[in-house]
């Protein structure tokens, strides 16, 4: 061995030791590869070179380069790793064209990792076998460092993913805490939007509520609301049952795609879509990943429950308010009934009204006049609840003013029908009966406007008071009402009732019936007016046996002393 060779070997050796120390001191892949390239440049006197490594998807990608342009990097062929080897032809073509005359596989303990490529030497000299040996030694030293740095990169990546998941979970946790305390859809919408767009860097978005048949309601949007509303009209939002990317939008949703919507995420409660989140592109142009979609879906689900709760809470409040109002109305309606039963020399009077709802449509009245006569009336407004009770109040007002005009009863009925007709809407009507009894002459005059005929019990017989005309409120009076006048005698009993009595139903859906009422009043005819009333009431109660009262019950009993 001559001196020059020894120097050469020594120089090589110290270069290798330096190199080894240097690259093993770092876990930065870029740093290691750069040093590998620079060491080669120094040793082989070349100015071009790059290192390509197989990524986790087994594709060869350039990881470090020197002296070559981005353009050349862009031309690097797609070389997949198959069975721990690769197709050399494509690489050879690339290297020939660009004069990368020297390349060598990088093999670590894990097998083939990548390839290093070097350009022509400045001296134009060939690469010799000893150069190849030296490069192999360099690669062997570098391989471990490369391997380690790749593992570290992977760990870093895994850590980052983990951090990202933790951030998502923290957001979810924070939101669930926040949502549970909020009862306003608009604020929930805002929180939802901020969390999602902050997490995913989205700048165009909308939150839409679409439960039921109502038009979709936009609660939060950074997309022009009017255009969005129009586009949504074409969409059957209930169709969206899972997250949908724009490439999979059904035709009707393409309008949304034109507005920049990239992703639609349903907000569901028990599998039913109650709302949608519409999201535009991510600001960094990255795609939404599966875990992004999961995060948005989870956040959306939290939000929609909160929104739904807010809605239910509001409805409950409104209902409560309505019930309070109805309770007040019930009080007012009670005051419309006579506060006390007039005392008469020759007649006993008893009356009762039991309303099935908070406010009802049954009516009775008793007005005593100065001339010793007394007006009594009973009526039943069609329908139930608030509309019926309004019409009933109307009838009461008319009756109170008309009965003071001193009109004959039939005339007065004509007028009352005209007035009621003006106030009814389609199909509403009142069955009505009224009469006047004279305390001196014991004469009765009555008009029956389509009401269940009151029963007059005399000597164990039942007479029905049917004279009059048609029900009130259907049309203005064309055929005038007629009245009937007849004398009453001692022990005569008048039973006035509404159909709530005869149609009272038991649990077997059987009706109390007219026959049963007639039977009962015949039994009870000798009792006082009050007792007859209680008797009928008790019989009805016994009959229905706890079944729900579906209609108002009104009874008015007049007994001649």
């Amino acid at each position: 061995m001559n001196t020059i060779d020894t120097f050469g070997a020594q120089r090589n050796l110290s270069a290798l030791v330096d190199f080894s120390n240097f690259i093993n001191s770092s876990l930065d892949l870029k740093f290691i590869l750069n040093n590998l390239l620079l060491t080669c440049f120094g040793k082989f006197h070349t100015t071009k070179g790059f290192v390509a490594l197989f990524d986790s998807d087994d594709k060869l990608r350039i990881k470090a380069s020197k002296g070559i342009s981005e353009e050349i990097i862009g031309q690097f062929p797609n070389v997949p790793l198959c069975d721990k080897t690769y197709d050399n032809a494509l690489l050879a073509e690339f290297c020939d064209k660009l004069k990368f005359v020297f390349y060598q596989d990088i093999i670590s303990s894990q097998g083939l990792r990548g390839i290093i490529f070097l350009g022509e030497r400045l001296t134009k000299g060939e690469y010799l076998q000893e150069d190849r040996d030296f490069l192999n030694t360099l690669i062997n030293i570098a391989a471990t460092a490369i391997e380690n740095s790749i593992i570290v990169e992977k760990l870093k990546e895994a850590n980052r993913n983990l951090d990202s998941k933790v951030a998502m979970l923290t957001s979810l946790f924070e939101l669930s805490k926040e949502f549970s305390g909020v009862l306003e859809a608009s604020r929930v919408g805002k929180l939802l939007v901020y969390s999602v767009i902050g997490q995913l860097m989205v700048t165009s978005y909308a939150v839409v509520l679409c439960g039921g048949k109502e038009e979709a309601q936009i609660i939060e949007a950074k997309i022009q609301k009017k255009i969005l509303q129009e586009a949504l009209k074409k969409c059957d939002t209930s169709k969206i049952t899972s997250p949908l990317f724009s490439r999979n939008f059904p035709d009707e949703f393409l309008g949304l795609k034109q507005l920049g919507v990239e992703l639609i995420i349903p907000m569901q409660i028990q599998g039913e879509t109650k709302g949608l989140m519409l999201l535009g592109k991510r600001f960094n142009n990255q795609d939404f990943t599966e875990s992004d979609v999961e995060f948005i879906y989870a956040t959306g689900s939290l939000a929609i429950i909160s929104i739904e709760n807010a809605k239910l809470f509001k409805e409950a409040l409104e209902k409560q308010k309505m019930e309070e109002d109805l309770e007040i109305a019930r009080g007012i309606q009670k005051n419309l009934f006579p506060q006390r039963i007039p005392k008469m020399k020759n007649f006993e009077i008893a009356a009762v009204n039991i309303s099935s709802k908070q406010v009802g449509g049954d009516y009775y009245d008793l007005v005593k006049f100065a001339n010793n006569s007394c007006l009594f009336a009973i009526g039943d407004v069609s329908g139930k609840g608030v509309p019926a009770s309004l019409l009933m109040a109307n009838l009461q007002a008319f009756l109170k003013s008309i009965c003071k005009q001193g009109m004959e009863l039939d005339q007065a009925t004509n007028v009352i029908n005209d007035l009621i007709s003006e106030n009814t809407v389609m199909g509403n009507f009142i069955t009505f009966f009224w009469g006047i009894i004279n305390d001196e002459t014991k004469m009765l005059t009555y008009v029956n406007a389509g009401h269940n005929p009151p029963l007059l019990i005399r000597n164990g017989e039942i007479l029905k008071l049917t004279k009059g005309g048609m029900i009130l409120g259907v049309m203005k009076t064309i055929v005038p009402y007629v009245s009937q006048t007849l004398p009453l005698y001692s022990d005569d009993v008048l039973i006035l009732f509404t159909d709530g009595v005869t149609e009272a139903m038991n649990k077997q859906m059987e009706e109390f019936s007219d026959e049963k009422l007639e039977e009962i009043v015949l039994e009870a005819k000798n009792k006082s007016a009050n007792d007859i009333l209680f008797h009928i009431k008790a019989e009805v109660e016994r009959f229905v046996d706890g079944a729900n009262q579906s209609d108002d019950i009104t009874l008015l009993i007049i007994k001649v002393k």
């Binding site: 980052r160 951090d163 990202s164 951030a167 998502m168 923290t170 957001s171 924070e174 939101l175 926040e178 604020r187 805002k190 929180l191 939007v193 901020y194 969390s195 999602v196 767009i197 902050g198 997490q199 995913l200 860097m201 989205v202 700048t203 950074k222 600001f283 960094n284 990255q286």
Partner: protein, 117 residues
């Protein structure tokens, strides 16, 4: 104790937003109000100083996303400064450094705004 506080001041035609405490879903609306006001007043050059911000959640980040486009459409921007490593880490994790400018000192951010105009 106030868990979040936001104040604005002006320096060389740039609005500085000082954040303090915890910016999360609960407190995000406060910051939102500040940005709405800035836009109403046509103040589009905004530097957010994070020096005293202890924590930010994605709802807080969302506020910046919601307003940055309006600022940029009007020749302005939202720039971030004086961020603690802990807070920066959250921004970094979600990829914000690609799209927003971060400065260690608010003076640099202000200078940057005034260079352009």
């Amino acid at each position: 104790m106030v868990d979040f506080n936001v104040e604005t001041r002006e320096d060389s035609h740039v609005d500085i937003v000082d954040l303090r405490g915890y910016l999360d879903a609960h407190t995000a609306p406060e910051l939102e109000n500040v940005f709405t006001k800035l836009i109403e007043d046509k103040r589009f050059k905004v530097v957010v100083n994070f020096e005293n911000l202890a924590y930010i959640s994605s709802a807080g980040l969302g506020v910046f996303m919601a307003y940055v486009e309006t600022m940029r459409e009007n020749d302005g921007d939202i720039k971030f400064t004086n961020m603690s490593p802990k807070v920066y880490n959250i921004f970094d994790l979600l990829g914000f450094p690609l799209l927003y400018e971060f400065y260690t000192d608010e003076k640099e951010a202000i200078k940057k705004f005034n260079e352009k105009s």
